[in-house]
Subunit: 186 residues, 2 copies
C-alpha cells in the first residue's frame, strides 16, 4: 500500500546549503537553506524567503555563494539558520566562520566551509521565493581534495537534511558504481 502525503517539497538526499552574501557596507552574512539544487547546465535554484537579510544582500550585490554544509561544521551550519544577521550583527564571528572574498563574484566564501559554488544573481521571484544563480566557479579547499586534485566526498562529508524529523545525516559508505552496476542487466 502507498500513502499519499499531498504537496510536499521532499526530495532525498536533501542538501544543507550555506548562502554567503555581503550587505551594503560589505559586512558578510551566512544563512542555511535546504530547498534547492542544480536546475540548468550552469545554474542553481534555491528557495529563499524574502524577509531574510541574505535576500536583501544578494539583491543589492547581485551575487552570492553556496557552500556545502558539512559534518565537521554541523553546529555552525545549524546556528546560521537559527538567527538572523538583522538581530545578531556578529553572527559570523559567533559561528566561527571567517569570510574570505570570492575572486569571481561580489560575495564571501567561508574558510571553514571547504567547498562552494560562486554565483551571479540571475533572478529572484518574490512570489515563489525562487532564487536563481549562474554558477561562475566552484572552488574547494585543498584539504578535501584527493591525490589527483579532485574533490573527495569522503573528505568533504556533506550533510543530508531530513526535514520531516529535522535530523542531519552524514555520508554513508560506497555502495556502487554509476554507469557500471546496471551493466549486470544490460
Amino acid at each position: 500500500m502507498r500513502k499519499n502525503f499531498g504537496v510536499k517539497t521532499w526530495t532525498y538526499p536533501q542538501p544543507v546549503f550555506i548562502i554567503g552574501t555581503y550587505d551594503e557596507k560589505g559586512v558578510p552574512n551566512a544563512m542555511n537553506a535546504a530547498w534547492g539544487g542544480i536546475s540548468d547546465d550552469d545554474q542553481i535554484s534555491i528557495c529563499v524567503g524574502e524577509n531574510h537579510k541574505t535576500t536583501a544582500n544578494l539583491l543589492q550585490r547581485k551575487a552570492f555563494t553556496v557552500s556545502i554544509g558539512c559534518a565537521e561544521q554541523r553546529v555552525a551550519c545549524d546556528y546560521v539558520g537559527l538567527v538572523s544577521g538583522k538581530d545578531v550583527p556578529d553572527k559570523l564571528e559567533r559561528a566561527g566562520f571567517h569570510a574570505v572574498a570570492s575572486s569571481f563574484v561580489d560575495a564571501p566564501l567561508f574558510a571553514e566551509l571547504p567547498m562552494a559554488l560562486e554565483c551571479r544573481l540571475v533572478s529572484y521571484d518574490l512570489d515563489s521565493c525562487r532564487l536563481v544563480g549562474e554558477i561562475i566557479n566552484v572552488s574547494a579547499e585543498e584539504r578535501i581534495l584527493n591525490e589527483a586534485g579532485e574533490i573527495d566526498l569522503e573528505k568533504l562529508q556533506p550533510l543530508t537534511y531530513d526535514p520531516i524529523h529535522r535530523i542531519y545525516y552524514g555520508l554513508g559508505s560506497r555502495v556502487g558504481h554509476a554507469f557500471q552496476d546496471g551493466k549486470e542487466i544490460k
Copy 2:
C-alpha cells in the same frame, strides 16, 4: 589554499532521481537523472536532455513522476540510466520495475521504488534542458514509514551520487539535530 574548478554543476549530496513517464501508447518508461532539486515552494526542477524518450513522453503527457533512487534498487536505477526506451522496448521489465498508474497525474509510479513525487509539467526549456514540474502529490510505500506513518529515511536509504568519480553512496548515520544543535552557540 583553494582550488578553482570553473563552471561545474556540483552540489552535494547529489540525488539519484528516476523519472517515470508514459509514451503515446501508454507504455511506461523510466530514466535516471541526477541534476535537480526543489526550486520553488511546490516545484521541482531537473536537467533533462531533449533527446531522451522521457522528454518526448512528458511533453506529450504533460506529467511525470520522480522516484527517489534507493540503495536496494541501485542496479536497476543505474540500468535505466544506461539504456534508452527507444532502443530497449522492454527496458522496465529488464530493470524489474513494475509500473503502477499514479492516481494524481498521467504518469507511472514503480512498485519497487518506495517514494515518489507526482508532477504536472509546468515547463521545459530546450536550450537549458530545464524541466519544471508542479508537485501534485508525494507518495510512499508503507514499508518505508515509521510507526507514526512518516517517511523514514533510514528505511528509504536514498542514494547519493558522486558525479566526479561516478560512485553511489548510501545514507550515513545520524550526526545531529536541525534547529537545535546551533543553540549551543546561541
